[in-house]
Assembly symmetry: C2
């Protein structure tokens, strides 16, 4: 008999095949003049160099962790009667890391090819260039969905054990954390250094080929935004599916999350196929229409499936609640960052009174912006909870209620294929613009790429809010999964805020996201300092470079190298910290302390993720608003102040902010994985305190 | 028979009498040259103008709230059989506001007198000037302790009901919130505007008499730092005593917090009396020695009293745990802000690469700095909890455990008289320096006032950390008091993080401190913009002002007026928000949602309070480090960057950051006051959802 959950691997294969088709479509396009090919090639080389180094280091890290997992989990191998489980878990972990790495690699490969091709097509008009940019992004989106869902399906088909799938999820998340933090440090190192020396000190334009950091900057857009963002959403996506599988296990509903995820993949596939733009069309609108269409398709498909397969419709309702919340959160983030809205404009106006007021104003609006999404996530949880609570009977009310919260997270993330496609479109056309400028394609072509780029920014505002909202619901589902796992291990505790151990855990937990942010941001600062010295040195020592003499070229590779080595050096301690402190809190304080710790980290993690993403985005747009001619335009004092604000915002929005989602996800997964072990062995219990 | 708790009012009277004695001592000192008297008089006038306006508006606000309290609390007056209780509560509330205002007024009055006198005494040497500065601060410290403790004692003596004392505490806290937020907006409006136009645009020194904002700036130090800080600590102090009284009520221990507070007042009195400095002495060391001595005296006195009165020694232990935690937290804050330590120095070094890196680096170290205090507060709670848990028998274990946590908060705050004295010393000598500069007392005298000022900064680092730590433990005690009150109202709930209502409450709660911070910081920005225009206008329109022509004086009063009106306009919405949202969450979501809300607001409130206080402090010291000659010294590019960092840090450390303590205190008090009413009437319950 056909098992319903097989819809997941089938959709996954369909996504991968479509991705392959689009990949070949991109490859067939013309890459333009030799100059353009050369630039594109340099970006591709730099990106590959980064990934090669990163993956080499990560392979060692993954092997070490896999060995530890194999020895200790689910039970220490010397006490276990089923050592095969240990080996399965370790393998699932490695497989998860591998799938995540593969999706990142493919997405970046196509992105670094598509940039020059999109720039070249821009010579023939917007409607020729747009599909290349979007399909390039779609390859990433479809790879993320395909590899994630196929991986989960394979592990589940072999083991039929959601707890082993949890290992797969941990592998994917651990890799995502490195990709996000490493890529984020890389991209901002390059960006800040290029801007500070180029734009601020020397007054040459962005993406000017004389700037030694320009290739590193373009590479950064790819390793940070494409590979990193893809890994981030893949990580939330997998984690939400696994969390719901664990929550559904006791209720005999392991197949429901897989069915919903499979249908979501199909909806995204159809959504991607419909995105088009005419000669005079509006690419930003096209992207958003695609997103809304995907949402509607998902709602219809899952309704029909629920009806046909006899799932309780309230579970479907919970998934829709999540999806709706995601869209609303996305729209509110858009308000706080959009160039047309008061927050960015008032920040631009404040720049007239100096840099300090630009920073204070932008930061303050960033603080405001946390309210709607936090309330949105909270309300979505409450509705999903109470909607599904009555499904349960005979004491299963709470289980169904939490299952409903998980379904909301899943619903929000089900359309991830379309979200990643829109998002990855952004850096591709941003790079296309860079290639067009560096190879002197002329004002008209640059204007087309500008339009493409602006659409990318619009889409990005919504998808970023979406990603954080999704992560919020996912970690709540993971917290529930942790609680369930602990209960199954015989520790039925309440995470009571009046319990001092829970409180102590929470106090430590809320400090971790800020400390992590500090580590990666200082990493950017340290790295940027090294790179600034190098850029200044090149301008000083290479004769004719500053003046733009024919034939004189800076040493791009040196800057790429500095950014790469530095990023890898800075990311390891921060990421390791997250895992080690989580284990420390668990093995010292026990299940309750760890529960408080997770809750605390979720609170401050979401808070800072939203603050940093939105403040960064609005500083960026305040600057763009002035550059568009307002308040004195480029070169004015207000503009100088706004440039500093934008630079401060860069590590906020592209390094620390987006890594925090992944961070709290990894922490929650570690907690769930080790819950059984911690329930048995923890210091306070061994000392007889609790 | 002598009731032991009477030690509280007796100590309060002793404090007030000593304060009066010191007040007269200050008044007898010489105010120096006519020029100095004139400046001091202008500051005093400005400060009084601010307070008059502020108190006028607040009087209306207090009357409105008192009326509402009288109608609705403890029970709606039409349902109550004891309407006298409603009247008592309303009166206690007004009395609390009155006492807090009085302490603020006296403190500020003496501070604005002591500045010129200290400057004048500085002409005869450090050991003549120091006592005037310190005793000026001591008047504030002793008033805070005296009025607070006397007020509590009076209310308790009349009503014998800790819940009415809660009303007194709410009055004091509501006023503190206004004083802190209003004063904070005022002081930073003046400071930022004076710096931006004076130092940055025109390059004239700080405190230059040509700057039209110079008097407003000096006034700001008094209304923000003296009156505001005093109100802040008074508020935590009263709240901690009341929380422990409520927690102790069921255990028959209402007198213990009063005895401990009374002995703390005596210890502080003795500590204040011993602070001295010799001709070549180190004033910073003298202040810290006084603090440590007070701690030791408190430990000894309370040990003897516990032994004599037969209190369980574990309660004494809990108080000491809190006190120790306070000192440790103070010392770690010192590390993160001190001019001699890596965080400030590295931030200064980063300034060499531009403003953006100064901001990113300082902010990152600020993020780091939250870890030790949060862990410290958490550990102190756990120790106090488990220390006192075994005192309880017959199901009272939990009550004693929470009582222990309250005792820790009380222990930390018991020496508040000494803390406020050290802290208020800072702005007095800061002003003395300003007076010395403006009246041209010569290099040598200014060097003496510089030394006095530096000591103030050292003391301030410790007392600020102390204040935040104390607030942290106090709000935990208040959360426990809220829980106890709800339980007594018949709603015995668990604040379980897996409960979606608690979670929704928490998500809203964590958003409130950021939103409040945004409101007051944007208030500063808006206000500063108005004032910058005015300063520029005066320099433009008053002939000879810029050149410093003899006899030409700027219009100081106009700047004072702008700062005053603006601050009052900006503070009302932010402060009202805190109260209204708290009531909204309670009356819609009920006891559980409100519990989660309080926990959430405590988490993010402490987080941002620490981040903002410490980041602001270290930006300030990074600038001072460069001004002392490092990295190119004054006028270098690094210095310019550091000045911007300092300006960003100003509203962080002096407006938003310190208001957050008070904010979460007010929110917790509102919750406790309304707990009984909310337990009966809330929307979700009325609709039958819970």
């Amino acid at each position: 008999m056909f098992e319903t959950w097989l819809i997941a691997p089938i959709s996954a294969l369909a996504s991968l095949l479509t991705g392959l088709y689009l990949y070949r479509y991109i490859n067939k396009q013309d890459s333009g003049t030799p100059k353009m090919q050369e630039i594109s090639h340099a970006i591709k080389e730099g990106a590959n160099a980064f990934l090669r180094r990163e993956y080499t280091i990560l392979a060692i890290f993954v092997l070490v962790v896999a060995t530890l997992l194999g020895i200790f989990l689910p039970k220490p191998i010397w006490t276990s009667e089923t050592p095969l489980q240990n080996i399965s878990l370790a393998l699932a972990y490695m497989f998860g890391a591998f799938c995540s790495a593969l999706a990142g690699y493919f997405g970046m490969d196509v992105a670094t090819r598509a940039n020059a091709k999109a720039a070249n097509a821009a010579r023939e008009g917007l409607n020729k260039a747009f599909p290349i940019g979007f399909r390039g992004g779609a390859v990433m989106g479809l790879s993320v969905v395909g590899f994630s869902l196929l991986g989960i399906s394979i592990v589940y088909a072999i083991t039929r054990d959601p707890n082993i799938v949890l290992g797969f999820s941990f592998g994917a998340s651990a890799l995502a954390l490195f990709a996000k933090a490493g890529g984020g440090i890389y991209t901002k190192t390059a960006d800040i250094s290029a801007d500070l020396v180029g734009k601020v000190e020397l007054g040459i334009p962005e993406d000017d080929p004389r700037n030694p950091a320009v290739i590193a900057d373009n590479v950064g857009d790819n390793v940070g935004d494409v590979a990193g963002m893809g890994a981030d959403l893949a990580d939330s996506y997998i984690a939400s599916i696994v969390a719901v599988m664990i929550l559904g296990q006791a209720l005999g509903h392991v197949e429901i999350p897989l069915v919903f995820a499979g249908l979501g993949a199909i909806a995204a596939l159809m959504g991607v196929a419909t995105v088009r733009v005419g000669e005079k069309g509006n690419p930003g609108k096209a992207l958003n229409t695609g997103t809304y269409l995907t949402c509607i398709l998902f709602a219809v498909l899952t309704y029909l499936a629920s009806w046909y397969l006899g799932f309780d419709l309230r579970l479907w309702g919970a998934a829709l609640v999540g999806l709706t919340a995601g869209v609303i959160i996305g729209i509110t983030s858009d308000y706080f960052t959009s160039i047309d809205r008061p927050p960015a404009r008032k920040t631009a106006e404040a720049s007239q009174s100096g840099t300090a007021l630009n920073i204070i104003t932008g930061f303050s609006y960033g603080l405001y912006s946390v309210l709607p999404p936090l309330v949105g996530i909270g309300i979505a949880s409450v509705i999903a909870y109470y909607l599904c609570y009555p499904i349960g009977v005979n004491g299963h009310e709470l289980d169904y209620a939490l299952f409903g919260v998980g379904m909301a997270a899943l619903g929000m993330l089900s359309i991830v294929g379309m979200i990643v496609a829109s998002d990855a479109y952004g850096p591709i056309v941003d790079n296309a613009k860079g290639v067009a400028e560096q190879s002197g394609l002329g004002e008209e072509v640059i204007a087309v790429t500008d339009k493409l780029d602006a659409a990318g920014n619009t889409a990005k505002a919504i998808t970023k809010g979406f990603a954080i909202g999704a992560a919020g619901l996912t970690v709540i589902a993971l917290l529930a999964a942790y609680h369930t796992t602990a209960r199954e291990a015989g520790v039925n505790v309440v995470f009571d805020m009046m319990d001092p151990l829970v409180l102590l855990g929470a106090f430590i937990g809320i400090a971790i996201p800020p400390v992590f942010s500090a580590m990666v941001m200082l990493g950017v600062g340290k790295n940027a300092n090294r790179m600034i010295e190098e850029i200044r040195r090149q301008f000083r020592e290479i004769p004719g470079l500053k003046e733009g003499k024919e034939g004189v070229k800076p040493d791009y590779a040196k800057c790429v190298d500095i950014a790469t080595v530095g990023a890898l050096k800075e990311l390891l301690p921060a990421s390791t910290l997250a895992i080690v402190v989580t284990l420390l809190v668990g093995f010292v304080g026990g299940i309750k302390a760890l529960g408080g710790y997770l809750a605390g980290s979720i609170f401050s993690g979401l808070l800072f993720a939203l603050l940093m993403a939105n403040a960064g985005g609005l500083w960026d747009n305040a600057k763009k608003y002035i550059e568009a001619g307002a308040l004195g335009g480029k070169g004015s004092e207000a503009h100088k102040a706004a440039v500093v604000g934008d630079t401060v915002g860069d590590p906020f929005k592209d390094t620390a902010g987006p890594s925090l989602n992944t961070l709290i996800c990894v922490m929650s997964l570690v907690a769930s994985l080790f819950a059984t072990l911690i329930a048995q062995y923890n210091l306070l219990q061994l000392l007889g305190f609790v």
